[in-house]
């Protein structure tokens, strides 16, 4: 599904070249759920934006379904780290969620249903007519998630999507994403800085190094398809994997 080959990105900063990502290669299979973790500023967002076709790589390529990415691939939804800025302040919450649906050839009723359902799933029922700036930070972030959910993408790219919500809501949203993923068979790339979350959610966790960024480790999460917030998290396998990821991140930071 998503094939990243030797991708790298240099930013020009005041004339000098700053290598954010050196070279990264990995593959995400169709219907897989991969989490990406790494130190702050290591290039996760950069990587995601290159995969989404929003940023041209300096070297290497990303390909979706075998086609090199040179613009956002069809059927992709992105939840941006800057959730607040990615909502359109001139549209109410409902319209924000509905906007991407408009080109899918749905009837008005279908769209309305999808919007209502998505908002219900992120616990924002009845907030259709609110303006984005009338929402709390976490509610804004959930609106952005609802927009992606309503779109029913084939490929879902999420950049720290639960950073602004409380622990309980976060757990609910994690289960929501896993549920959607397993039910609809979508492919998910999930950036997070919460190690527990990465282990709980993913089939695989990719750990990035500090910049110039390379792949530090690739950890398979063999916790099985059925996961539960209480049981899974309290098991010894979870603790072991958790420790493994934590160790890699610490090592990544130390090496910087």
């Amino acid at each position: 599904m998503l094939e990243v080959a030797g991708i790298g990105k240099d930013y020009r900063v005041d004339g000098a070249v700053h290598t954010a990502i050196d070279a990264l290669s990995f593959h995400v299979a169709e219907g897989e759920l991969v989490c990406i973790v790494g130190p702050s500023g290591c290039g996760k967002t950069t990587l995601l934006r290159m995969c989404a076709g929003l940023l041209a790589p300096t070297r290497g390529t990303a390909a979706v379904d075998g086609r090199e990415v040179d613009g956002p691939p069809e059927g992709t939804a992105v939840v941006f780290q800057e959730y607040g800025r990615s909502l359109f302040p001139w549209m109410r919450v409902g319209a924000n969620v509905e906007l991407p649906l408009k080109r899918l050839g749905l009837t008005r009723a279908e769209r309305r249903d999808r919007v209502a359902e998505a908002l219900r799933l992120v616990d924002l029922e009845g907030k259709e007519r609110a303006w984005p700036w009338q929402l709390s930070g976490g509610m804004q972030q959930r609106t952005a998630i609802a927009r992606a959910v309503a779109f029913r993408p084939r490929l879902l790219l999420m950049d720290e999507p639960f950073a602004a919500v409380d622990a309980q809501t976060r757990a609910d949203l994690e289960d929501l994403i896993r549920d959607l993923w397993s039910r609809l068979g979508i492919t998910v790339v999930f950036i997070t800085h919460d190690i527990d979350e990465s282990v709980y959610l993913g089939q695989r966790v990719l750990v990035l190094s500090s910049p110039p960024t390379t792949m530090r480790a690739e950890i398979h999460i063999d916790l099985g398809p059925d996961r539960d917030q209480l049981e899974t998290r309290s098991g010894p396998a979870f603790a072991k994997l958790r420790g493994q990821v934590w160790g890699e991140i610490q090592a990544a930071k130390r090496d910087a």
Partner: protein, 256 residues
């Protein structure tokens, strides 16, 4: 209710003070070109009769409306195009800057060559001045749309047309409205200027006639009328602005 009264008081307060100051300062003035305000006010009633309104003022305002509407439409359309298409921006900029710098007294004869001397010419003259603030502000607005919002539109593949109407246009609208506000007063000015050429009637024509025939109090009354017209149009404009950009203004005035 209270706030309405307050607003009204604020709106008329300073003009009233200035008017009174003018009244006092000019009382007993013997200067030919600076007659006492009392004389101007007396002249105002005599000059701007119902007949004058019908024959001079209203046709002028109608031309102003036509020219203003055309400028806004053309300015926004061109501005969106130029602001979004970078090569077009660079290719057209010098030519547009050139056109902008041609003074109306030499431009009007050229316009007359192409548009004749009827209403078409006068509307063209109004457009020749009103276009620029709208165009420049639209271009600037389009180019400063929040990048995350553009990324969102691109990621969901909203398509050119929808990105333009649902994202770029509203994103640039605060700037566009500023341009339109600028253009309003310029339109009134150019309405007068256009009637200095090949005119037989009109508000501007009347003012110029008063000036030429040394009917100075009448000329001042015309200038007063222009000011009132501008203020009235601006008040209308503000209402429209509040309605269209309510999401923008409310976000900013909510709690301050």
């Amino acid at each position: 209710m209270r706030s309405l009264v307050r607003k009204a008081l604020l709106a008329v307060g300073l003009p009233a003070v200035l008017f009174a100051a003018w009244w006092l300062a000019s009382a007993g003035s013997t200067s030919f070109y600076f007659p006492p305000l009392s004389e101007i006010v007396a002249e105002f009633g005599e000059t701007w009769t119902a007949e004058r309104w019908r024959d001079d003022v209203l046709p002028s305002v109608a031309r102003l409306a036509a020219g203003y509407a055309a400028s806004c439409a053309a300015g926004v359309a061109l501005g969106l195009l130029i602001g979004r298409v970078r090569w077009l921006f660079h290719a057209t900029e010098p030519v547009l800057e050139f056109a902008r710098a041609v003074p109306p007294p030499v431009l009007v004869p050229v316009i007359m060559l192409f548009a004749g001397i009827g209403d078409g010419m006068k509307i063209a003259v109004i457009v020749s001045g009103c276009l620029w603030p709208v165009l420049l502000n639209t271009v600037a607005g389009v180019r400063s749309v929040e990048p995350v919002q553009l990324d969102t539109a691109a990621a969901y593949r909203l398509g050119r047309a929808r990105t333009l109407t649902a994202v770029v246009l509203p994103g640039a609208s605060p700037r566009i409205v500023t341009g339109m506000r600028q253009a309003l007063a310029i339109g009134v000015i150019l309405m007068v200027v256009s009637e200095m050429f090949a005119a037989q009637s009109g508000l501007g024509f009347a003012i110029v006639q008063f000036q030429r025939s040394y009917a100075i109090p009448a000329m001042w009354s015309g200038i007063l009328l222009l000011g009132c017209l501008g203020a009235a149009l601006a008040a209308l404009f503000s209402c429209a602005d509040r309605a269209v950009l309510h999401w923008y203004h409310r976000q900013r005035t909510e709690e301050a």
